[in-house]
């Protein structure tokens, strides 16, 4: 008993608990205030006139909001599908295998989008697509944004898939091979099912970074290609009403529930 107490005590440091609580308060107060004021009944942002869902109704009924939401989901879903599939293939080809020529280089290429500051990627991609449009007459429309998103979604999808593969036991696949499974059968029946949780969290990460992206989308987007973050930004340039709180709250609640659900799924799997 005494020993347990002592071992707990040696771990604590004075004041650290207070700082941890302060840290959480700092991270959550602004988000909570924003969400609470989305439920304000009045027309002014800071005059509380009672609880109401009025502004959520106004926000969701807005045509511009709906088209921005459509664009956002279209872009995020395409970027997630493409990046998850290609990242899964890459992870399989680059994990637990004998190093092939250029594999180190391949790792650097895949991680590169994480190391380049977002604003540089944004202006570079803008210049690139401007050059394609002017020089070759190539313009993929909203596909431009999708391609730009795929680039930074791939490393996010790649990380958890690779981590999962690294943790996996080779003996299971060897056992399958001993039982006369072809390499494809072994992959299809053994490796892939074990890999699914990694693929799921990779896809979740890819989706959330694409869904939330502002900087790159803002510079690459052409007219009529407004996404939700861009729509919110446009709203802040006008006289602000609690409508903007409502839209922001919708976006936040969506991301937060998405994260909590993936967390709970990952926990259950363990």
């Amino acid at each position: 008993m005494n020993k347990v107490n002592a071992s707990v005590d040696i771990k604590t440091q004075p004041g650290f608990k207070a700082v941890a609580i302060l840290c959480l308060a700092m991270l959550y107060t602004p988000i909570l205030v924003l969400i609470i004021f989305a439920f304000n009944a009045g027309n002014l942002m800071m005059h509380w006139e009672g609880v109401s869902l009025r502004w959520f109704g106004v926000a969701l009924a807005n045509q511009d909001f709906q088209s921005a939401a459509r664009n956002t989901f279209m872009i995020s879903i395409v970027a997630t599908l493409v990046s998850t599939v290609t990242a899964t293939l890459a992870a399989i080809g680059m994990t637990r295998v004998k190093a092939w020529p250029g594999m180190r280089m391949a790792f650097m290429i895949i991680n590169l989008p994480l190391m380049v500051p977002e604003i540089i990627t944004a202006v570079a991609t803008l210049s690139f697509f401007a050059l394609l449009a002017k020089g070759l007459g190539l313009n993929f429309g909203i596909g431009n944004i999708m391609l730009a998103h795929c680039v930074f979604c791939i490393p996010f999808a790649f990380m958890p898939i690779r981590a999962r593969l690294e943790d996996m036991d080779l003996t299971l696949e060897n056992a399958a091979a001993d039982l006369y499974a072809t390499p494809w059968q072994a992959f299809r029946r053994v490796t892939f099912p074990l890999l699914v949780p990694g693929i799921a969290s990779g896809a979740a990460l890819a989706f959330i970074v694409s869904f939330d992206d502002f900087t790159i989308t803002q510079l690459v987007a052409g007219p009529g290609q407004t996404t939700l973050p861009l729509y919110i930004w446009d709203q802040t340039r006008r006289p602000m009403t609690p409508e903007i709180n409502a839209i922001s709250a919708v976006l936040l609640l969506f991301s937060i529930s998405f994260i909590i659900i993936s967390f709970l799924i990952a926990r259950k799997r363990k």
Binding site: K11, I119, I120, C150, V209, D212
Partner: protein
């Protein structure tokens, strides 16, 4: 007799080569996408930075080093001489100072938080990680707007203080340097806490115990044992905050209100209202070079570590 053996070896080698080719092929789609649409654009701005600006945005295909000269000098309109003009340099310096201050404060708040998390019972730890992860993955623009709602003249802080008659006039916080650093701190705090946590979670507390056995007090244990052991996490966390903070775009855009620029906004401006793409490209590449230097030191540092162990 030797024939079949070498034949078998040959087949084995060929199948190994096949496997390598297959693995290479699997990685190709990802590599192709990133090379074409990630590295390609970087090469485009590299080329653009050596061209002349077209009057209405875009570039003229004439070689010129004006963009890099413009970074430090301004051409006199009358006698065409170059005059030293440190305006851009100041913005770079400001950005670096803001980023360093942000990193330092993040570390001061983040380290105790991560340590506290790592010393919770395992069941509680995963909830703490979730709590830090939620802001990490929440929309940065919306979180920055949330800060704006709080520190505006008509914001929560000023409204409350005025209702309590602590102040008569709102304290101006928005569109100041303070607002930008606060916003950066708030944006990147989770980037500091998470790597610190993963490094502190693996801390061997027997070493802490040994420290106490040798009559060290809590402070000495913290400074001489815990912090040195957490160094890889500290370095990783600092870089994860420093790099995006130097190139921050959204935070100064919203909280600086265009009055207090950082590098990110400066670059974006050249591609927008500034209509000087080559200058923007050159500024972006200078930022990129700074980031590369930071990463280089990190890689050298961390690989040196591995070597010792």
């Amino acid at each position: 007799m030797a024939e079949p053996v070498s034949k078998a070896a040959e087949i084995a080698l060929a199948s190994q080569k096949n496997a390598a080719r297959r693995h290479q092929l699997l990685a190709m789609p990802s590599l192709l996408i990133i090379t074409l649409f990630g590295i390609g654009p970087l090469l485009v701005i590299l080329v653009y930075s050596f061209l002349k600006a077209a009057p209405y945005g875009g570039v003229e295909w004439k070689f010129s080093t004006d963009a890099y000269l413009n970074f430090l000098f301004q051409r006199d309109i009358f006698d065409d001489t170059l005059q030293f003009s440190p305006d851009y340099l100041f913005i770079y310096l400001r950005s670096v100072i803001f980023a360093v201050v942000t990193t330092a404060v993040c570390l001061i708040i983040g380290f105790p938080t991560a340590y506290f998390m790592a010393t919770r019972p395992p069941e509680q730890r995963s909830w703490w990680v979730l709590l830090i992860t939620i802001p990490f993955w929440s929309n940065l623009l919306v979180r920055t707007l949330a800060i704006m709602f709080i520190i505006r003249d008509e914001g929560v802080i000023n409204t409350v203080l005025m209702n309590w008659h602590v102040i008569d006039k709102p304290i101006t916080m928005l569109y100041t340097n303070f607002a930008i650093v606060l916003g950066l701190l708030y944006s990147y705090l989770p980037f500091m806490v998470l790597p610190l946590y993963s490094s502190l979670e693996k801390l061997d507390f027997r070493l802490v115990e040994a420290g106490f056995d040798l009559y060290a007090d809590k402070r000495r244990v913290l400074w001489r044992i815990i912090i040195p052991l957490a160094k890889p996490g500290i370095v990783a966390g600092c870089l994860l905050v420093l790099i995006p903070a130097i190139g921050a775009y959204v935070t100064p855009l919203i909280l600086g209100g265009g009055l207090h620029l950082m590098i990110g906004d400066l670059i974006a401006q050249q591609f927008g209202s500034g209509r000087n793409w080559p200058l923007g490209a050159a500024q972006a590449l200078i930022l990129m070079a700074a980031v590369m230097v930071a990463l280089f030191f990190y890689v050298r540092n961390s690989s040196g570590k591995m070597h010792h162990e």
